[in-house]
Symmetry: D2
C-alpha cells in the first residue's frame, strides 16, 4: 500500500509498505479521510526526535478492513472514527485516570510517533474495541474526522479550565485547536469568550465558533485589553492554545485569583516555560495551571460525534483546502508553509 | 406601602406595611418587576408551616431606594437584581461551600419564609453588597428577573449533574425550572437533552430551550423510551425537576451506572422518597444523587446576567401572562390554579 | 483440582474441576490464602440468583502458575494480590471512570458471579497485567489478602464521602468493611470518627482501627446521640456499611446540609430503599448520596499494599479464625451462622 | 498598649499604641500566645513593600476582650483562635470559593499587611463570628496557636495535592510549614511521604510528623533518589514548601504524568519561576500546578482544633524556643538569623 512518510528529519515522501495485520484485539482501517495537523510539521522538523520512514498523520476516519479475533464491537465494513490518541486502557496511568499518559508521559500518542500513522491507504488500531467509534449514518467522514484531535483537544482545554456557567474565558491563539477551545468554552456555558488573534480570516471564523470579543495582539496590549473587558478582574479561565513562553506568561497575567490557566499548546522550544512571579500571586493566588493531551477512546469519540449529530457545531468551516492523497506532498507543503491562509487541509483517499 | 401577603394558610391579599429600613449592611429596593413561582402557592397552602401576614414572593428586580452605612458597592438609583436566596456569607455552612444552607438547612431562603418577600412596593435585602448585582443597561428588568430563581435553580440542576460534553441528559418535567435545567444542560454541552412532559405548549417551548427529544409520559413508557433513545445505556444525568416520588424513581431507573441523578424538585409530600433498590444497583452502581437549593449571591447573579447579555438564552418566552401589581390577586390565582396554560406571570410595579 | 462450590441455592461443597487455562492476556494463580466474605453467604442464599457448581470466593492471594502470551508484567512464581473486582479496562464504563461497572452494572464483579471464584487450588485472572499486583517481600499473604476487598471497599466509603481534614464521620455498622471504612476515614484525616455498633468485640476492635466514639444502637437513640456528639450539626459524612433501609434512613438524618452519605452496603432486600423526606431537606439541602463498588486494578492494589507496607494499619486483627482449605465447609458455616464472634475466617491452601 | 512593630524596612521595635476598638461585627482579642513566622522576617526585609510602624505577627490566640454590637457567637472572656487569614466572606472571591483572595489577590492576608498584626497586647479581628473559633478546654493555647497558619497552610498543601490513599508524596523543604504539609499528607492517607531536607534536626523532627524517607539534597541528587524511591514513576504529589525557583523545578521533575505539584511556598525573588519544559511533558502530561494561600475562617479553625483534640498530631514539637513578649526583639532576632536551630519561637503575653 501507499504511505506518506517522514523519511528522516526534514524530508517527506511516498513509499510502498505492506498492509498491516491486526493482533487479536486490533483492527486495520482503510483510510477514507484525513486531516493534516501542524504537529505533523513539528514531527518532520525533528520535534520528537529522529524517525526513519515513519508514516505520518494521526487524524483520520475510514472503514474497517480487518479485525483481530478478540474484537467484539466492530466488524469489517463499519465506518469508524479513530482517536488521535489510542491509549492502553489497562495501563497504570489509565487506571489512574490519565489514559493519554499510558505507558509513559504522552504514551497514548502512538500514531506517527511510536508506530506508523494514518497517512496511508490502511492503518493499524490497537485495542480497537476501546479506541474506535462507529460513525452514525448522518455524519459524513469530512465532519467526523474533526473529532479525532481538533474537537477532543480543544474541548479538553475548556473542560480542564473549570469554566462556570456565565464565566469569562480567554483563548490565546485561534488556530484550529484554539477555535475548538473557544467552541468548547461555549459548550461549557461561558458568558464571555475572548479570542486573541491577529489574522483577520481566523478572527472571522472564530466568531462563528463562539468567540464574543477579539483582541488583536498586533494592535493592542493584550493584558490591558482583557483587563478592560473583564472590568479589571481578569478571566476565570485562560486557555493557552499556542505553546509559546510569551503567550503562557500572558495567560497567567490575565487570569484572576482562583482562576485556571488551561494549557493545550505544545511547547516545542526552550529549556523553560516561565511563570511571571508577581502576576502569579507569588505562588499563593489560588491559581491553577492545568495541562493535558488530547483524550482518546470510544466513549470520548462517541460523545464528540453526538455533539456533531446534534448540530451544536460545524467544524468543517475550518476545511480551507481539499486534496487527493496522491497530492499529499503539495498538501503538506501548504500547511507546513502556512500558504493561502490555510487552516486545515482535508485529504481524500 | 402596599404588600401582597399570605394572611394565614390558604388566604392571600393586600395589606399596608411600613417601608422597611436597612441595617448597616443592608439595602431597601423599590420593586419594578417580579415573577410568581409555584412555590409561592406551596407556601400559601401551608407547605412551610403557618405564617401570618407574611409578604410573598422571592423573584424580583428593582431600583435601590436606600442603603445602610456599610454598603459600598451600591447606591440609591442603581438598577439591581436580587437572588431569591440571600445567604449569610460568613456562616459556617457558607464557609463550607454551601451558602444556601447558611444558618440552617435551606436557611438562605429568607424571602417569604423567614422574612417578608418581594411582592411589595419595597423590600429589604440582607448583606446587600454580597446579595445583589447591578443590571447592565442592555438588559431589561423583564429579562433580568428570570435570574433570581429560574436560571439559578435550573442551571444548578445541570451543574450538579456532572454533565460531560456530548453527554446524555433527561429532564423530568418541563415546568419553568425544568426548562431552565434543559437550557443549563445545553450550556454545559450536553449532546442529547431529553425532556419528559405531556403538555403540548410546554413541549414546544422547551424545544426552543434546547430539548432535543420529548418523551410524553401520558403516551409512552418513560423508562423504556429513554433506554431506547440511549441505545440501552441510560443517561449520564437525570434532572428531577418536579419533586415527586414516582418521578424520582424514574430518574434512578434511567440513569446509567456511574451517572448522576440531580434533584431540583421540592418534595412536598409523603414521609419518604423511595429509591428503587435493584435499579439503583443495590447501592453499588457508582450512581450519585445530588441535591441543592437555588444558588444566590452577587457573583452568581453577575454570571447569569452575563449569559443573558451574551444572548445565549431568552427566558422571556416563559412569560405567558403580565399583570400590574394592583391585579396581584388575579395573577396569583392564574398560577395557583394553572389557568390559561400559564408558565410564568410577570408583575409590574 | 479441588474447588469449593455453590452447587445450587442453599448448598455448598467440594468438587473436582480442571485447572483453568489462560487466554492471551490472562493468568492462572495458585491460591495460597483466601478470606470468606458475608457476600459469599448472600450468594449461596440466592442473592444474585441461581448458580450451578460455581466456585465461590473473591478475596485471595497466591503465586502465579501460568500466564498468557500477552502478559508482560508477571511471570510464574510471582506472589500476587488480585482485586476482588477485575474490570475490563477498555470497556466504556471504565473509560468513563467507573471500571467496577464495566460490561454492565456491577460488571467488574466476576469472581463467584459471572465466572468461577477463588476458593480453589487455582483460579483464573482476566487482564492479568491490569488486575494483579506483586506482593512486596515484607508483606505476608495473611496481610495482603485484606486488600482484595476489605480495604478497597472500606476505604472507598471514606474516599467517596468527601471527608475534609478534621471533619466528622459516622460509620453505620462495624463489620469488617465498616471497620475498614473507619480506618479509611482516619486515613483521610477525619477529626472525629463515630462508629455505630452493638457487639462489644466489634466495638473494641473498631477502636483500634480509629473509631473515636461508639454509639450502641441497642442502648441509645442513634440520631440523638450523634447530634449530641456533633453539637447539633450532624456529621460531614455518614458511611452506610450495612445495606439496610433503616440504617440508610439514619445516615440521611445524621448528615449535615452539604454533607455526604456514602454507601458501601449491599442492599439485599425490599423493593425500595427509603429516603426520609424532611430530614433530606425536601431534596434541597445540598446533601449528596454517593455509591460504589469495590475498586479493583493494579494501581489500586499497589496503593493499598503501600498502606500496609508503611504500617499505617494492620487489618489482621480481624482474622478471628483460621482454617485449612480442607476444612472449608466448617469455615463457611462459621461465617454463615456468625458463630464464635467471627469477623473474618482466613483460609490456607 | 505595647506593640511590636516594623518601624520601616529593616527596623523593628516596641511602641505604644491605643487598644483598638471593634466595629459592629468585629472583636478585640487580648493576646495570650503567638508564634513568629519567617514571613514576618520577609515583611521586615521589605518583601511586601514599605510599611511604617506596622504591628507585626499573624499567628496568635487569646481571650476576647470586647465585641461589636453584631457579634453573636463570641463574648468577652472566650478563649479564641484566630486564623492568620481573615477573609471578607461576602466578597466576590469568597463567593467564588477562594476567600483568601477576598478583596484582591492575597487580600485575606490582613494582619501585619493591610492592618496591624497580632504582636501586641490586643489585636482587632474583622468579621469575628466568621474568623475566630473557640478553643476547647482540653487544648492549651501553646497548642492551638499552631492552627492559625502552620497547620492550615501545611495541610492545604496536602489537600490541594489531590493525594490518593496510598499515594506517594514528596515535600520539598522541611521547615515548619513543610513539616505540617508532611503531616497533612499522612492525614490524607499517603502511603509514602518523602521529605527533602539537609538539616539533621529538621530531618529527625519531620520523621515524627510522618516523613517516611528523607532525601538530603546536600548529599544526593534529589530527582534521581526520588525516582529510585518511586521505582521510576515519580510521585503522585510534590509539595513545594520553600518558594525557590530551583525547588519548584525539582517538584515538576519528580511528579508523574497526571500528578500534582502543590505549592505552599512564598516566591519572594526573581521575575520568573521557571517550569522545565521537557520534564513538564511539553505542557501535555496531565500534570497540574496548584497554588493557594492559608485558609482561614471559623470552620477551618474548628476542624484543625478537632485534629489536635483527637490527638492526631502534636505540633508543639516545633516549639524550639519560648520568650516573654518583653523579649520580643531577641525572639525576632533568633528566627530572623536562624540561630540555635530554631524552628518556631513561641511568645507569651
Amino acid at each position: 500500500m501507499k504511505a506518506f512518510v517522514m523519511r528522516e528529519i526534514g524530508s517527506v515522501g511516498f513509499m510502498e509498505k505492506p498492509i498491516p495485520r491486526p493482533g487479536p484485539g486490533d483492527a486495520i482501517v482503510r483510510t477514507t479521510k484525513a486531516l493534516i495537523c501542524t504537529s505533523d510539521s513539528h514531527t518532520v522538523a525533528g520535534g520528537i526526535g529522529p524517525r526513519e520512514n515513519l508514516t505520518l498523520g494521526h487524524e483520520a476516519v475510514g472503514v474497517v478492513h480487518e479485525v483481530g479475533s478478540d474484537v467484539k464491537v466492530f466488524q469489517p465494513g463499519d465506518r469508524v472514527l479513530v482517536g488521535a490518541i489510542t491509549p492502553d486502557w489497562g495501563d497504570p496511568a489509565a487506571q489512574n485516570g490519565f489514559p493519554s499518559q499510558s505507558g509513559m508521559a504522552l504514551g497514548g500518542f502512538k500514531f506517527a510517533n511510536s508506530k506508523d500513522g494514518v497517512f496511508a491507504e490502511y492503518f493499524h488500531v490497537n485495542e480497537a474495541d476501546a479506541n474506535m467509534a462507529k460513525i452514525p449514518d448522518d455524519i459524513s467522514d469530512d465532519l467526523a474526522v474533526y473529532c479525532a484531535d481538533m474537537l477532543s483537544t480543544g474541548f479538553m482545554g475548556a473542560e480542564k479550565g473549570n469554566i462556570p456557567i456565565g464565566g469569562t474565558v480567554a483563548v490565546l491563539a485561534l488556530g484550529p485547536v484554539g477555535m475548538m477551545a473557544a467552541a468548547g468554552a461555549r459548550l461549557r456555558g461561558a458568558g464571555l469568550v475572548i479570542g486573541v488573534e491577529s489574522v483577520p480570516q481566523r478572527q472571522d471564523l472564530a466568531r462563528t465558533y463562539g468567540v464574543d470579543e477579539i483582541v488583536d495582539f498586533s494592535r493592542e496590549d493584550v493584558v490591558e485589553r482583557i483587563m478592560e473587558l473583564t472590568h479589571g478582574e481578569g478571566v476565570d479561565t485562560a486557555i493557552e492554545a499556542l505553546g509559546m513562553d510569551a503567550t503562557f506568561q500572558t495567560a497567567i497575567k490575565i487570569t484572576k485569583p482562583g482562576g485556571t490557566v488551561s494549557n493545550i499548546g505544545y511547547f516545542g522550544e526552550g529549556e523553560f516555560v516561565r511563570i511571571p512571579r508577581v502576576a502569579w500571586g507569588v505562588g499563593m493566588a489560588d491559581q491553577t495551571i492545568a495541562t493535558g493531551l488530547c483524550p482518546g477512546g470510544r466513549v470520548r469519540m462517541e460523545r464528540l460525534l453526538r455533539v456533531l449529530q446534534a448540530k451544536r457545531l460545524d467544524p468543517t468551516g475550518m476545511t480551507t483546502h481539499e486534496f487527493e492523497f496522491d497530492d499529499m506532498e503539495q498538501a503538506f507543503e501548504v500547511l507546513d508553509k502556512k500558504l493561502d491562509d490555510v487552516i486545515k487541509p482535508l485529504i481524500s483517499f
